[in-house]
């Protein structure tokens, strides 16, 4: 079957402004959008820039806008796209570097801001090995451990588009993962960070993040649980 790929192109050394280039491809219904990009690079333009790594929806490298919706190019099949022309654009809200590649540093700066690691200065248990937790305690934050930091959520968030200082859904998902971990001891510190001006209150529950997440994390709910935790002063169980 035939498909036309309409790709956002920008070469920082040659272009003064971005433009769209179209490519006509012979594709299979079961091809992924990533396969189409690979085909364009192989057959038309080896200079086409995009990120990819595992190509199996785990590394989170190839998040981009596909027909206006954030998704992983390696998880979207041609047969799932109803339009004959498939438009591919870079993520919104992050500085553009080239073609479909954006600068992820502001995204990772927000990630680092929420202390994305377990904090527990208490002595190790008597056996000197693991800090144990029950299956139920582990289950409390299981969903938010699934985040692959692809940025599909944060760059679909209108609050983040309007205000780049907003921590954004992905950083909040990470914050949730540690806040609700029974082994963590930094809840007061985390809640201070999350309740600050650039924190969780800038979420206006647009639900774009939940819709964009390729890992099907209920992000808006996780953010709501953080809000409840701030009001209670401790993780809202």
């Amino acid at each position: 079957m035939k498909r036309t790929l309409r790709i956002f192109r920008f070469h920082p050394e040659q272009d003064t402004r971005p433009h769209y280039a179209t490519y006509s491809l012979e594709v299979q219904p079961t091809d992924r959008v990533l396969d189409l990009l690979e085909q364009v690079r192989a057959e038309y333009d080896p200079g086409l820039a995009y990120r990819r790594s595992c190509a199996h929806g785990v590394c989170g490298s190839d998040a981009m806008r596909i027909n206006g919706r954030n998704a992983l190019a390696c998880k979207v099949l041609v047969q799932d796209l109803s339009t004959p022309v498939v438009t591919i654009e870079p993520l919104l809200g992050l500085p553009l570097i080239k073609d479909l590649v954006v600068d992820m540093e502001p995204f990772f700066a927000h990630y680092r801001a929420v202390l994305p690691y377990l904090i527990n200065d208490e002595p190790l248990p008597a056996d000197g090995r693991e800090r144990l937790q029950t299956a139920a305690e582990r289950d409390r934050f299981d969903e938010t451990t699934r985040c692959i930091l692809c940025a599909a959520c944060t760059t679909s968030c209108p609050s983040f588009w309007a205000n780049g200082q907003y921590l954004g859904p992905a950083a909040l998902v990470t914050a949730h993962r540690f806040l609700f971990d029974s082994r963590d001891r930094a809840a007061p510190q985390r809640l201070q960070i999350l309740s600050a001006r650039s924190g969780v209150w800038l979420c206006r529950t647009a639900f774009n993040c939940t819709e964009a997440c390729p890992r099907e994390i209920h992000i808006t709910r996780a953010i709501a649980e953080i809000k409840q935790s701030i009001l209670k002063g401790r993780p809202a169980v």
Binding site: N163, D181, S182, A187, L191, L202, G233, V237
Partner: protein
Amino acid sequence: MKGGLAMQNTAPRNFETFAWRAMRISAFLLIPLVWGHMILQDVVVGVHNMDLGYVAERWASLFWRIYDGLLLGLAFAHGVNGLRQVLRDYLHGEIARRIVNWGALAFWLILTLVGFAALIAGVRAQ
């Protein structure tokens, strides 16, 4: 509860947390207040039947003055805080944000005081 979930209450106290909570509480209280106001003024009384005499009669009752005072205080605070939040989405400089914060506070305070002055002073029907 065990471990990290059993720690003492350390609710962060900052303005944005207060403002978020105030928005929810005021919205909740405004639902009956606004519906009551609209049904009474627009349906039961009717906008064409309202004149100074009606307002004087209404404000002769302390209940309606408190009712209107709550409506004014909550609705205006809710609206101005909403406006402040929307503007803050688009103003990224610290100085601009301070101006909006203080400007919104002054706007809210002055108009609320004028409204409360009218409520307290009442109306003398001619």
